[in-house]
Symmetry: C2
Subunit: 307 residues, 2 copies
């Protein structure tokens, strides 16, 4: 119910972070790419296989210390249906290892079409040969611009299958304010969206007080993060923007409640490309990812403890 499964895992691991798996081919060590391109003649199949090898090794290195992965759908789609197959395999592999999977797809549509997205990513698809899961993630990021019609189909799946969603509220990018900071009466657009999250989640609140409807709030806007934590007591936050985008541990502290829960902080490039930054042998890329994941965990846990 609500965000319980995710929060249980965060508490068990004492680690409120998620590893973003947004693999471009350029992030994958050359020896893996060479192997895959020697094996497959279709460039997209070879690329997708390289991503999958990369992801599996990262998951192996992280699953006992990091509670969740957040694969970003765009990077898989960039490599065609072959890439989307690699996404499917990545999700399956991470779940086998006990990780929570938060697919970052920012999907949005209405009625029957949103139902199709909900079914695709969180539900089970009916076929003439029985029901089968297409992607089977635990959570999905979504865009609420279309209003309640675009969210209701997700809530049904969340309730039936104990899943969750994260609605874009205040995104981490520089131009997020163009629309999101505009005033609607006495409230900003992102506050209006945040209020909608509280309303949408109202009857899915779990044992920690958080509903199945979370919000995406960027680490690059620490004041808004703190403000929204106070205003949205039942809305769990997915916080992008730590690391490569410029957010630090102090910036994300405001996302946590007085019990030190209420948010999960994402790092993608920071973890995936740790071996490049560290300058270690590329064959040690997974080791470098683990070292960076531990550093990030300690960085954030220390910042929370010392506020």
């Amino acid at each position: 119910m609500g965000m319980d499964r995710l929060i249980d895992k965060i508490i068990e691991y004492k680690n409120p972070t998620v590893a973003g798996l947004d693999p471009k081919l350029a992030y994958v060590p050359e020896y893996i790419r060479k192997e895959c391109f020697a094996k497959y003649s279709d460039p997209l199949e070879a690329s997708a296989e390289a991503l999958l090898c990369f992801n599996r090794a990262l998951i192996d290195a992280l699953y006992d210390i990091v509670p969740a992965i957040k694969p970003q759908a765009a990077y898989y789609e960039m490599y065609g249906w072959q890439g989307v197959r690699a996404l499917t395999e990545t999700i399956r592999y991470a779940k086998e290892k006990g990780m929570i999977v938060m697919t970052d797809g920012k999907r949005n549509d209405i009625g029957a079409t949103m139902e199709a997205y909900a079914t695709a990513h969180l539900g089970v698809t009916a076929t003439d040969a029985g029901e089968v899961s297409a992607f089977d993630a635990d959570m999905l990021t979504v865009n609420g611009y279309l209003g309640t019609d675009g969210i209701t189909p997700l809530l049904n799946v969340c309730k039936e299958r104990d899943r969750g969603i994260f609605v874009l509220v205040k995104t981490s990018n520089r131009s997020s304010g163009e629309l999101q900071d505009k005033m609607i009466g006495s409230k900003r657009v992102y506050e209006v969206m945040g209020d909608m999250c509280e309303a949408w989640g109202a009857d899915t609140i779990g044992k920690y007080g958080y509903s199945a409807v979370g919000a995406v709030v960027g680490a690059t806007y620490p004041e808004q993060l703190t403000e929204l934590r106070e205003k949205l007591p039942h809305t769990f936050f997915l916080v992008p923007g730590y690391g490569a985008q410029g957010g630090g541990a102090k910036d994300v502290c405001g996302g946590f409640d007085k019990n030190g829960i209420g948010a999960i902080i994402n790092s993608s490039r920071g973890i995936m490309c740790a071996y490049q930054k560290e300058g270690c042998d590329e064959a040690d890329f997974a080791g470098a990812a683990r070292r960076e994941a531990i550093r990030m965990r300690d960085d954030i846990m220390n910042a929370i403890a010392s506020r």
Copy 2:
């Protein structure tokens, strides 16, 4: 440049409509489903093959009278990567037949991630074995909630490869007003989004006066459609909501400029499921789709002529 390729085709065919290919298995005639489920043991592969057979026959029946198809990504994702492969094949087939392909994905993200979506759907993907197109549509629907950072990567691809995008402005669903109709100063949220479309498209205006940045405006809000047509002179409209959602030919008229261009009207279920409504033999599903496409074309062209 701009929407020229699409408008050329609309003028050539005297038909400002697009066939939405949003195929659920339930829409596919039983004899096709039986064949596919007999052939493939994987339920998702069998389903995807059924969608593809259905789509190919529809395209065969429509390509010489309807300028474009609009496949809705959600319905393909519902059948897993196998469904996404069927989307890829559908796009390829329609383009071989000379149709314009408008992928309805409502994608949105920022920076490098939005670049990945732009590359995936409209661009070419770099791999270690050369560049290759992943989906290769002509146009993509997108969600502008994240602001300019989420749109710029698309504009680059639009300029380089003569592609277009449609930004959600005023959607056709009942709850679209929850956010979109709210007032920001003296303007509604959808007007603010519309103004951004005009700005984003400013340097991609083609020979008909329309830029590469179009807008999605629902047929179910005819007043707003008329209002936006006047206020956004360089923004071409993709208009959902005709037919099954309740919009009629008179409702969509306001989307067209004084020259009778400026909009393309979508029908999905109306065309795909025409055989069910008509009650004809299911083997004639493509014929029924063609009859409905002609009826819709005439309905809308007559309404434009008699306003």
